[in-house]
Amino acid sequence: MVIAAPQTVDVDVNAVIDKLKEKFPEAVKNDTRQGYKGVIVDKSKLVEVATSIRDEFGFDYLSSATGVDYLGIADEMEMVYHAYRTTGGPALVFKAQTPRDNPEIPSLIDVWPGVDFQEREVWDLYGIRFPGHPNLQRILLWEGFNGHPMRKDWKEAYFEEDHKPFESRWPAGHVHRIEEKNAYGHNVMYPADLDLSRLTDTSEESLYNSLGLGVDVQDLTGEGGIKTDRLVVNLGPHHPSTHGVFRMVVTLDGETIETLDPVMGYLHRNHEKIGERNSFLQNMPFTDRLDYISSMSNNLGYALAVEQLLALGARYQPPTYRAEVIRVLMAELTRIVNHLWSLGFLLNDLGAFFTPMLYANNEREKILDFFEATAGSRLMCNYMRFGGVFKDIPERIHSVVNMVNDKVRDYNTMDYLTEMINERLPRFMDEYERLLVNNEILKTRTVGVGVLPADRAIAYSTCGPLLRGSGVAYDIRRSDPYSIYPELDFDIPVGQNGDIYDRFMVRVYEIRESLRILKQILPRLERTKGEEVVSKFNYLGRVPIGESYGRVENPKGELGYYVVSAGDEKGPQNPWRYHIRAPSFINLTALGPMSKGYKVADVVTILGSIDIVLGETDR
């Protein structure tokens, strides 16, 4: 295990853009819209420009690719790409536009294989086609679904109005239940050309067809004339090892994996469409439900994205120092919570059935007690606000520290935190490491399994412990810092071999590093006692026009929010576009290639080592 401490690198993006414009004078032009960044690339030259951005300008890491529908503003659809350097620095944003009727943008899958799922998602939700993409199938919905739901002119069955608060929910409005306005009393609607005579479910069939399965036995004649056939095994969507409702369609030769295709969307609950109906602040509790194990850091990412937009206006008040301290405190505690959980479940997948998980969960519960005392909820904290946090940490909290005699006691919060950070958690980690890190079974099952080389890790746009386990010291807290991380002293643990064991160890070390950060946070908390933590002013204001991409190093990787505020000259109250760059979703791109050649039992572990959460994968 290597500990790296990469320093923040200053990249002058404007200089890069100038050079890019020099090189492609006709294809590249500045995005001059109010509040927008980056360049607009002519779509016929997109692949060429992207290759140049990657190879010549060194932006080798494509963080996010997403679509926006500008119906009524420009009558165009747009793809937005955020590229970064893995050595650090800000983003190079480039966009490609296409007319709304017959939208088509060349696929970048040959430049960055990591756009695979993202392009499929855009096809699914926006109906933009990507010539060059080898498997442009729906990913979140099923094949045969009526329409592309994220288009602005597509209305859902329970559609009431474009923006909340809806009339029906407003005290002065006419109160009704939306079911009453739907002929089926359900959340369904059918196209006018519904053919009642042919109502069979074809979604499974088209799925298998798209995977190229159903191969003739004769084609697979092995050496020596032995006829072999491939076996298709479905893991999930109901399967204990998939950590939710994830599904893998695995093709086996004997017990060896030939192909693995992730099938997702079983928890696609339309965050983004609902997010466009909500006001900016109303989205905050929805972010909790993305990565539902680490709600606090989800909040932080969204707050950062909207604060970037608010800062464009004149009346914005940035968070106070105490608010920043509390934010980092919460984000790092969340990291510990998440890693404890994921380490427990990784061992669960290895067959250490629930014992390590139960031990880890005991510690987790104590942190949740602190969250509950502060935010009012154990899991869905809904704690951050634009320009601060919801409220200060309480004076005293109730918790069960000693699980054995099971008594709820009253503690001074600072004492509770100090004891937890300085004594209990380090002690627990000592014990945990002693039991597991050199465990023979653990090592046999994980060392050299599920290897992801560094260059592939970058190409697949993986992030978080998966990327760092492969030896890339890319951590947004250092590479593109936010909040008060620049003044804190901590290191980035990095693996060497990119196998499951390295990812496991990266998480163990990250807990240690988080504890190191938290130890520096405690005196800052004491020092800033009594300061304001939020200005209520930011609650109600309209958000200035523009776009922003707020990203944080979530426990699972880079969580990004691409927020567009448009459509209202006075400053909209609702986001025009609210996209979530989910680490779990994009990390899964690497699952198939990583699993190839290993056994079925290893796949379960490889998936566990990616540490996905379905709320975020499917959104």
């Binding site: 306005k181 089926y184 939710g244």
Partner: protein, 272 residues
Amino acid sequence: MSDLNLRELHNTEFPIPDELQSNLAITSLSKVYNWSRRSSMWPLLFGLACCAIEMIGTAASRFDFSRFGMEVMRGSPRQSDLMIVSGTVTKKMIVPIVRLYNQMPEPKYVLAMGACASGGGPFKEGYNVVSGVDKYLPVDVYVPGCPPTPQALIHGLIALQKKIDGQSLANMDDVPWYGVGPSEPTPIPILGPDVIDPRQMDIIRRQAELAALGKPYGVRELPAPQMKAVVAAKGAAPAAAAADGGEVDAAKAERLRKREEALARKHAAKGE
């Protein structure tokens, strides 16, 4: 089982001598049956979304629902008695959920955990969200919360135990599985242009007929009087009502016939 308290089961209609009080209980079959069943509820190991995290938290050592005989979470629906629907039910997921429910052996129960499973919750308006699992499955207990705390889930489980205590073997209409003959499986939804509930075929057909007449199809916004007409049509339109009623009667008659057959077999066996 040293803590077994026979007095709990004892039916007071029949006197038992004092010295036998802790060794003997005279009770009804229903009571013993319900008591043993509710004390060994095996939930399906089945997490959907956020609520699943709290469900695991409930199973873990701090809250520990094994105190209620529920620690054996089974991965297979064939071995489980209780489905805890822990999270948002999407249209894509309702198909496997109904299939899993059909695979569970009777007696089986469903607990809707959290706002989403109970009624769609914060995601109700989503285009891929089923607004409550009760649109498809019969739900026994609803637990509110987003997510419900472990305490709330345990409260829901205790409510379910109380419900089981009240069921009767003698009353065949009480719960479907005490009747004679197999129960009907829940029809599996179809993923067409949108999810299609086979039980709604009638209304879908009627809407299609309306569409053929050039009337708005899949009406979303209805003026109040027209709305009333549609609501009335649901229950009282002559043709539709006859069709609906006919089906129900047929099913009832079929059940009665099966029951009589089974009784006849039973009598025949006795006669021999």
